[in-house]
């Protein structure tokens, strides 16, 4: 053991002290960075007994990170779904406000009831017309809201796909820096932090699984196993140019050539938006279409002549394809946006109010569709029939996620409102749960890998002490050298 060696060791200690201090200051400055992991300087004793910094290591908790990524995408997915359902639920509103299509059908029935008690009264017939117009307007706006929610989802998917693409580009860049840096033995901890940050952002967009491979390389897979990134980013194709067709799923998202149609499996915001676009709004839209068809069928006019030969025709409620009735037992896509009150009863369009009472709305030129043949002002038969028809059993398409055996269009409308609120309620519960899980998982990961400022401050104090000791050692060795040299002189 020589004095020079002690000198060297002290010098090495100073150098490693400086590096350790820089690691501590990096940690402190990263204190507010949610994606940063705590870094530790790796001290190694060399053959001569001195220390040097072999490298800087990141605190790693792969399992917790994986869990955080997974729960983040589940939470983002359910958030998108809950947001869309919240928006759509304005169609139903609070039952107390009675603004749902079902409540408006009820109001229409009330107006019919008033008119049936005083069929001669044009004010009462005016009331029927007004409530019928309210009802069609509410169906039209419900259909418009559903369609616009759907279009908004489509636009958001397009935007999210763009984000995903640029995130993958960043990921690819950072990942290759890490792989090269690791091969060269550089400190790549900051890049790993960045890569984790990008991974968390990607998991917000779409559900992912990561796989760590040799050389610090990471591959990303979608939940269904499709490769998203492996050495290089895979192609993501989304054709947003074609317009959405009512009643049909929108254009598919293709990753690496594989179509991703099931939003619930895909996860993340994109998955949630796909569910909004291809499930929720489609189902709700078809229910609204069936309600519209139910109303047209309930208000249909039948041939009243002694030997009926004419087909049933659309009466008070009609649509752009009238006076023929829409195809029975199937969803006519877009019917809810086409339903309207027949012009033949609207005085401002040259119609006659009394046709509501007398019939003959579908074809005023054809007397065989008139119910009140003698034009008696006290005729209430047709009005009562309309009241009954609103809750008379009707067959509805089976593809609309709800089924109504009895109770007709009124029951369909109430069931549809219940379905929507049920979706929202369960979606909201799932979302709350997912949010809590995601917060917990993320905070569990952060707790494990994140920086504790007190800890770092303590480390800094320890470093200060060891720096003082090292300098004292150097000065002592120096004094020894001085003593030795003066003895030699």
């Amino acid at each position: 053991m020589s004095l020079t060696l002690a000198y060297n060791i002290a010098r090495g200690a100073l150098a490693s002290n400086a590096t350790a201090a820089s690691v501590v200051s990096r940690n402190i400055s990263n204190g507010e960075n949610p994606s940063a992991a705590r870094k530790t300087a790796l001290l190694v004793t060399d053959a001569a007994g001195g220390v040097y910094i072999a490298g800087v290591a990141n605190q790693v908790e792969s399992a917790l990170l994986e869990r955080a990524l997974e729960s983040t995408s589940a939470s983002s997915q359910s958030t998108e779904l809950a947001k869309a359902l919240q928006q759509l639920s304005t169609i139903v509103g609070d039952p107390e406000l009675e603004g749902s299509p079902a409540a408006l059908i009820g109001k229409f029935r009330g107006a019919l009831q008033t008119a049936a008690a005083a069929p001669h009264d044009t004010t009462a017939l005016q009331g029927v017309l007004a409530s019928a117009e309210n009802l069609t307007a509410s169906l039209n706006s419900a259909a418009a809201l559903t369609a616009s929610t759907r279009t908004a989802a489509q636009d958001s998917i397009e935007q999210a796909v763009g984000e995903l693409q640029s995130l993958l580009d960043t990921f690819s860049e950072v990942n290759s820096e890490i792989v090269t840096g690791t091969a060269l033995g550089n400190d790549v901890t900051d890049q790993i932090d960045r890569r984790n940050a990008v991974l968390r952002q990607i998991s917000d967009l779409v559900g992912i699984k990561t796989q760590e491979r040799s050389g610090n390389d990471v591959a990303i897979f979608l939940a269904n196993g499709t490769v998203l990134f492996e050495t290089s980013a895979r192609s993501i194709a989304f054709d947003s140019s074609s317009a959405l067709v009512p009643g049909e799923p929108g254009p598919a998202l293709r990753v690496d050539g594989v179509p991703q149609t099931d939003g619930s499996i895909l996860g993340g915001r994109i998955g949630g938006l796909l569910m909004v676009r291809d499930e929720v709004t489609l189902q709700l839209g078809s229910q609204l279409d069936e309600i519209a068809r139910g109303l047209i069928v309930a208000s249909r006019e039948t041939d009243q002549s002694a030997a009926p030969s004419g087909p049933d025709q659309a009466g008070l409620f009609t649509y752009s394809g009238g006076p023929g009735l829409p195809a029975s037992n199937t969803v006519t896509a877009g019917l809810a946006s086409m339903i309207s009150v027949n012009a033949n009863v609207r005085p401002e369009l040259g119609g006659t109010l009394e046709r509501i009472r007398d019939g003959g709305i579908s074809d005023p030129g054809d007397p065989s569709y008139t119910y009140n043949t003698d034009a008696l002002p006290g005729f209430s038969g047709r009005l009562n029939e309309l009241i009954d028809n609103l809750s008379a059993d009707q067959p509805f398409a089976s593809s609309i996620a709800i089924s109504v055996a009895t109770g007709g269009v009124l029951a369909l409308a109430t069931t549809s409102a219940g379905w929507l609120e049920g979706q929202r309620s369960s979606g909201d519960a799932v979302n709350e749960q997912n949010k809590v899980i995601a917060e917990k998982a993320t905070s569990a990961w952060q707790s494990e890998v994140g920086v504790n400022l007190d800890d770092e401050l303590t480390a800094l104090m320890a470093l200060e002490r060891s720096f003082q000791a090292s300098t004292r050692l150097i000065s002592s060795v120096n004094t020894m050298f001085d003593a030795l040299l003066s003895a030699v002189r």
């Binding site: 039952p95 001669h120 009241i387 109430t414 800890d455």
Partner: protein, 349 residues
Amino acid sequence: MTSSTISSLALWDASRILMSRTQSQLGAASQEVTTGRHYDVGIALGTDTSRAIDARLVIDDMDSIETMNGVASQRLSTMQSSLSGMLDLARSLFTEATQVVQSGVDRELFIDSARSKLATLTSLISATNNGTYLLSGTNTLSAPVSDYLADPPPAARSAVISAFTSEFGIAPDDPAVADLTADQVKTYLNGTYATLFETPNWQSTFSSASDASTELRIAPQEYTSYSVSANDPGIRKLYSALVAVVDAGANGMNADAFGQLASLVAGSAGAAAADLAQSQASLGAVQNRLTNANGRMQIERGLLNTVVGELEGVDQAEASTRLNSLTTQLQVSYAVTARMFKLSLLEYL
């Protein structure tokens, strides 16, 4: 060395998340306490929302039916009082006619009384409510009968007079009426004259009321109908009896023929009274059903209101307890957060 530490960021985040969650729950709870209903009914009820909507629909339906039942029962009672008026007329006509037969009361007086009764009957038949004629069947906007005694005489009166003229070859006010025998008068009144008041002559000559029955929806699933109108047999018989006194030459008849006419009129009036009572009974049955339906709906509505309250309402005691505990929780977490932020080594270096 790896030490087990907790990230400062995660530590602080935890209290931030807790606070924001508590605050949003606090907002919901305070609204529930003030309104007594769920903060978000749709979320709270889920698919049960359809039950709430359905119950409200039925309540609304019953509300409007009850309002309209009120209107209908007003109409029905006005009709009842009209019919009672007619019944009184029929009874007094019966009494007078029998007195004429038995004791030969002043003929002029009898005829004048019949004229005034005819005017009363016309006004009773033309009873209105809310701008509609009650006894017009469904032809509610036209008066069921025109004023028989108006000047110039309406088509109905001309038809009666021409029937008399074509039967006997003389007008009712011709002095030759005195030559008519009791048998001739009987044949005329039971034959040609009676036919005038039968379907379809009555409808084409006298009445513009329609025979169609009026249908009433008196409960969500319950209909009833009534078809009491000016075409009812009782009204027709009374009308024909009165017209026979006025326009069958009663004034100039010999005593024998007049006695025959009076006894026929008495018979008609008696039959009319029986028929009118029948009509009153059938209207009464409808009124009864209406009252029953209203009673039932009231009970049902009460139950449904309870259902709506149970579905949409919150237990206010529970909500206010929740509000209190949330407030306490929030205060605690404020205090804890403030302390935690002070807990930094920096404060002690």
